[in-house]
Amino acid sequence: MSTVQVLGPGCKNCQILYERTQQATQEIGLSCQIEKITDMETIVGLGVLSTPALVVDGALRLQGRVPTVEQLKEILA
């Protein structure tokens, strides 16, 4: 069971990333908890400079762009 966090202040790009992450985890059958983080201090605390960002099990895996579902599957696999 892994933790996946989608970070961003809540603009359109973050929303798209969240939806695609949900789709990607379902498609590869990854059991995980997807969390949305909008609190700025937490986002900055993780070393994120540009949003949206993706953190998997505490490690920053992606920031500043919205990947495709396929790319997300590679990252999450």
């Binding site: 961003g8 202040p9 603009c11 790009n13 973050c14 798209i16 700025m40 201090e41 986002i43 900055v44 605390g45 993780l46 070393g47 994120v48 400079l49 540009s50 949003t51 490690a59 920053l60 895996r61 992606l62 920031q63 500043g64 762009r65 495709t68 579902v69 396929e70 590679e74």
Partner: protein, 363 residues
């Protein structure tokens, strides 16, 4: 919404698809070259087409309607073609830059040189205004001076590829170059002035307490991107940016076409001409609360110029619409006190004002 749909339209690539295979690469190059040739062919024949179609429809060549229609048929495809080409190229260039690298380049810089570098990096670093807050905090807490950070924040939205393409397509490369140089100068000098004023006390105090995690510098493996990945980034940028701005561009060009066909020449010389000294500040004042993207405003500005508006006034209007946007200031309110936001807006507006007057004097 449109861009989301568009992004889903092409079949998603699978891993084996992106792996380097000589045949696939050759096919992609051939497709790219074919598209380029097609675009060049279309671009070259637009002028002919814009005259031919209205004639074919049986419209009177001397009428206002024909004049407007020809203008639209020529400008709209031209600008869209240029936009696709440039956004693609910029998308590839941006894949070489990340905000992390930019921060590393700027940290600990002396102010004067730092402002120049920050303004330049503002053009190529991928940046969306939603990221203004984390970027601001990430910069100022790791040794990038406040003024240098501002130079970046001013230049990033103002000197953007969409504005430059539109200026290039509608006014020619000289005006585009002029905009590039003056935009960079405004960003550089405004940032420098803000730095000199030592306004750190007007940054919200939690910003400096928020110790930014240095974390993994880049978990995205940006360092070893293959060329196919970079081209993919360019393609994604085209779908994202062009998908977002095309309605604005068409609407802007349509309004511009209306002005072109129906408003008499020199109609605006009195109110927006060189001799009306007050027109520059008025243009800036109107421009600040207006939040349009470059895409919608530049075609209209072109038509205004044609009807006698002065270049400096038009340029000032354009810059204030693009550079100073209310939504971005509201986002920045989280990290900046209202006084600093006002100073920021004031210094940039002043810079734009000077640019406007300078051009009205010189040209």
């Amino acid at each position: 919404m449109k861009s989301v749909l568009a992004r889903k339209a092409p079949p998603e690539r699978t891993r084996s698809d992106t792996a380097p295979s000589p045949r696939g690469a050759a096919r992609r190059w051939a497709t790219g070259l074919g598209l380029l040739l097609l675009a060049t062919f279309l671009y070259r024949n637009l002028e002919w087409f814009s005259v031919w179609l209205p004639g074919r429809l049986g419209l009177d060549p001397a009428s206002h309607l024909t004049s407007s229609l020809s203008f639209f048929l020529y400008e709209a495809p031209k600008v869209l073609l240029l936009l696709i080409g440039v956004v693609f190229a910029v998308g590839i260039v941006r894949s070489f830059f990340t905000p992390q690298q930019t921060r590393r380049l700027l940290a600990g810089r002396r102010e004067a040189a730092g402002n120049v570098l920050a303004a330049l990096l503002g053009i190529v670093t991928p940046f969306c205004s939603c990221s203004a807050v984390p970027l601001f905090i990430g910069f100022v807490t790791t040794g990038v001076p406040l003024g240098v950070t501002f130079s970046f924040l001013i230049s990033a939205p103002m000197v953007n590829e969409v504005a430059l393409v539109l200026l290039w397509g509608l006014f020619g490369w000289k005006i585009a170059a002029l905009y590039l140089i003056t935009g960079l100068t405004v960003a550089r000098v405004s940032g420098w002035v803000i730095g000199r004023l030592h306004l750190e006390r007007w940054v919200e105090s939690w910003v400096y307490r928020a110790a930014p995690g240095t974390g993994p510098q880049s978990g995205d493996a940006e360092a070893h991107l293959r060329w196919t990945d970079r081209i993919e980034r360019g393609r994604a940028a085209v779908i994202d940016v062009v998908g977002k701005v095309w309605p604005f561009i068409l609407a802007g060009i349509a309004i511009g076409a209306g002005i072109h066909g129906y408003v008499p020449r020199d109609f605006l010389a009195g109110i927006m001409g060189k001799d009306a000294w007050w027109s520059v500040p008025v243009a800036v004042l109107i421009g600040v609360p207006m939040y349009s993207n470059a895409a919608g405003i530049i075609p209209i500005v072109q038509a205004l110029l044609e009807k006698g508006a002065a270049l400096g006034t038009a340029l000032a209007f354009m810059m204030s619409v693009i550079a100073l946007s209310l939504p971005e200031m509201i986002i920045l309110r989280k990290v900046l006190r209202i006084q600093l936001i006002l100073v920021f807006a004031g210094v940039v507006a002043l810079g734009i004002l000077i640019v406007g007057y300078l051009f009205n004097l010189l040209i």
